[in-house]
C-alpha cells in the first residue's frame, strides 16, 4: 500500500536510515562521553567512536582519516574552506574562482570576502546544461588566484561538473581546489586523489545521516593545505575547528558513509531507473515539458523539469501530498526565481515553472507512478486555467507580447 505524503525531496534532506539511528543511540545515553576527555573511559569510548567515524567518512572519498575535520554541516565547511584559504594565503594572492550556480554557502562566503575587501572573485558562467567549462577555469586564473571552488554536482538541476579536469588544472597551476560535494558524496563515486581535490565539503543529512553534522576534507600532503580557522577555542580538529565534537552526529555520519559506500553502485542504478521511469511518464503524458540540467551527466536521483505555462508554487499546492520543491519565486524567501535555472539562459518563466524531484533510497516504483499521475493531472488542470497556455494554443508568441507588469 502506498503511503502519503510521498517524500521526493531528497536533495533538501534525507530521512535517517534506521541502521544509522541504531548506531547513534548508545552515544546519547550510556556512551555519552566527551571525545576530548583524555583521562577516563567515557572520553576514550567517545574518542574511539569518533575515530571509527573518521575512518568511515574518509573511506567514502578515498582520503586519510586525519584529513577529516568535523563541522556543523556543509555550510560551515564551505565557509571554513573559502574564508580559511583566503585568510591564510592572503600574502600569496586574493583572487578566487567560482561559478554562478554554486550553493549560497559558497557564493555568499565569496561575496562576504569581496565586501570586506579581502578578495576579488570571478563567477564563471555555465552552459545551457549548467556545466562549467574547464577551459574557462583555466583562463580565469591569474597570478593572484589562491582558490578555485566548484561544486561536484548541483543541488537543483543535478548537473555533474567536470571535476577531474578542473582538479588537473588546479594542480598544474598549484592552486587550492575546493569542491562542495554535498550532493555527490554517497551518490556517485568521489575520489579526492583521482579528482585532484584539496578541500571537500560534505554533509551528514544528505546521505541518510543526522542533521547538524558535516565535514571538511583538508588535504595533508601534495600539497598540504593550510587554513585559518573561523571558529576559535579549544583547538579541536587540529586547530582548524574548535568546539566539543558532536559525537552522536559524527557516529551517525560515519555509519551513513559506510552504508552509502557499500550500496553506492546498486543504489545509483536503482535511482537512475526510478528517475528515468518518472521522466518517461511525465514526458509521454504532457507536452511542453523541459528538462533542466544535463541529460546524462546528472545525479542518479535528480529530475528537474519545467512545465511550461504553469507556475511552480501553484503546482506544488495542487500536489499537496507529494513533497518536491520548485524554483518558483513564490517558494523562495527572496521572492526571486531560482538563480540556478536562470543561469542556464532559458526563458525566465521556465524558472518559475520548474519542479525538482529528488529521488532517494526509500522511494519506490509505486511512488513514482503515483507522483507522475498526480503531477500530470494537476498540470493539465492548471494549464486549463493558464492564460499563457491559451495564448500559446492560439499561436500567439508570448515573447511578442508587451506585458504590463
Amino acid at each position: 500500500m502506498l503511503k502519503t505524503p510521498v517524500y521526493m525531496d531528497n536533495h533538501a534532506t534525507t530521512p535517517c536510515d534506521p541502521r544509522v539511528l541504531d548506531a547513534i543511540m548508545p552515544y546519547f545515553t550510556s556512551k555519552f562521553g566527551n571525545a576530548a576527555s583524555r583521562n577516563h573511559s567515557f572520553g576514550w569510548e567517545a574518542e574511539e567512536a569518533v575515530g571509527k567515524a573518521r575512518d568511515q567518512i574518509a573511506g567514502i572519498i578515498n582520503a586519510k582519516s586525519k584529513e577529516i575535520i568535523f563541522t556543523s554541516g556543509a555550510t560551515e565547511s564551505d565557509n571554513l574552506a573559502i574564508k580559511g584559504v583566503a585568510e591564510f594565503y592572503k600574502d600569496k594572492g586574493n583572487h578566487l574562482i567560482t561559478c554562478v550556480t554554486e550553493h549560497k554557502a559558497v557564493l555568499d562566503s565569496c561575496r562576504a570576502l569581496e565586501r570586506l575587501g579581502k578578495a576579488t572573485v570571478t563567477y564563471l558562467p555555465v552552459d545551457k546544461y549548467g556545466m562549467v567549462d574547464p577551459d574557462a577555469v583555466r583562463k580565469a586564473i591569474t597570478d593572484k588566484t589562491v582558490l578555485i571552488t566548484i561544486m561536484y554536482a548541483n543541488n537543483e538541476i543535478g548537473t555533474i561538473h567536470p571535476i577531474r579536469e578542473i582538479g588537473k588544472i588546479a594542480k598544474q597551476r598549484e592552486i587550492v581546489f575546493h569542491c562542495d560535494a554535498v550532493q555527490a558524496v554517497g551518490k556517485i563515486p568521489v575520489d579526492v586523489e583521482k579528482d585532484g581535490i584539496d578541500l571537500l565539503s560534505m554533509s551528514g543529512h544528505k546521505i541518510y545521516g543526522p542533521k547538524g553534522v558535516g565535514a571538511l576534507y583538508v588535504r595533508s600532503k601534495g600539497p598540504r593545505v593550510r587554513l585559518t580557522p573561523i571558529i576559535d577555542g579549544g583547538g579541536h580538529e587540529r586547530g582548524m575547528r574548535s568546539g566539543t565534537l558532536n559525537v552522536t552526529g559524527i557516529v551517525g555520519f560515519g555509519a551513513a558513509c559506510e552504508i552509502a559506500k557499500t550500496e553506492l553502485a546498486g543504489e545509483a542504478r536503482y535511482l537512475t531507473d526510478l528517475r528515468n521511469q518518472l521522466q518517461a511518464q511525465l514526458f509521454e503524458r504532457l507536452d511542453e515539458v523541459y528538462l533542466n540540467g544535463h541529460p546524462t551527466e546528472r545525479l542518479p536521483g535528480n529530475l528537474n523539469v519545467s512545465f511550461a505555462y504553469v507556475e511552480g508554487e501553484s503546482l506544488l499546492m495542487g500536489i499537496n501530498d507529494v513533497a518536491v520543491s520548485s524554483g518558483s519565486a513564490c517558494t523562495s524567501a527572496t521572492l526571486e526565481p531560482s538563480y540556478v535555472i536562470r543561469a542556464l539562459g532559458t526563458d525566465e518563466e521556465l524558472a518559475h515553472s520548474s519542479i525538482r524531484f529528488g529521488l532517494g533510497r526509500f522511494n519506490t516504483g509505486e511512488e513514482v507512478d503515483y507522483v507522475a499521475e498526480r503531477v500530470t493531472k494537476e498540470v493539465k488542470r492548471l494549464r486549463e486555467m493558464s492564460p499563457l497556455y491559451e495564448m500559446a494554443r492560439e499561436g500567439i508568441d508570448l515573447k511578442s507580447v508587451q506585458w504590463k507588469a
Partner: protein
C-alpha cells in the same frame, strides 16, 4: 507557509474560469502581470450598455494566492456598476482571502486586472481611447 482556507477553496474550486470572445463589443479584457515575474492574470468582464458587470471570467498563471485573488474578484465584481468596480481596493481581497504580506502583490494585480478590463471595455465602446495591449 500554509494557505488560508479561503485561498485553498478558491484554488481547488476556482470560480468562473474561462474566456469570453475578445471581439465581443460587450467584453472588456484585462491582462496584467508578466510571465517572467511569475504572475499573469487575464480578467474578462461582460458589461451591459448601462455599465453593469453581468458576468466575469478569468485565467491566471501564478501562485495559489494569485489564482485565488482572481477567482474571488470574478465573484466580487458581478452585478456591480463599473464605477463601483473601479473603486475596489486590493485591501478588500487581502482581507477576504487572509493573504500574508508576501502575497499582497497578488491582490494588487487583481485590482489592476479589474481596471484594465473596464478600461478595455470603454475603449471598445469608444468612451476613451486606449493603447492596445498586444503588438
Amino acid at each position: 507557509m500554509s494557505y488560508s482556507d479561503k485561498v485553498l477553496d478558491h484554488y481547488n474550486h476556482p470560480r468562473n474560469v474561462g474566456s469570453f470572445a475578445r471581439d465581443d463589443a460587450n467584453v472588456g479584457t484585462g491582462v496584467v502581470g508578466a510571465p517572467e515575474c511569475g504572475d499573469v492574470m487575464k480578467l474578462q468582464l461582460k458589461i451591459s450598455d448601462a455599465g453593469v458587470i453581468e458576468d466575469a471570467r478569468f485565467k491566471t498563471f501564478g501562485c495559489g494566492s494569485a489564482i485565488a485573488s482572481s477567482s474571488y474578484v470574478t465573484e466580487l465584481v458581478k452585478g456591480k456598476h463599473i464605477d463601483e468596480a473601479m473603486a475596489i481596493k486590493n485591501t478588500v481581497i487581502v482581507k477576504e482571502l487572509n493573504l500574508p504580506p508576501v502575497k499582497i502583490h497578488c491582490s494588487v494585480l487583481a485590482e489592476d486586472a479589474i481596471k484594465a478590463a473596464i478600461s478595455d471595455w470603454k475603449t471598445h465602446k469608444g468612451v476613451a481611447p486606449q493603447k492596445a495591449q498586444e503588438k
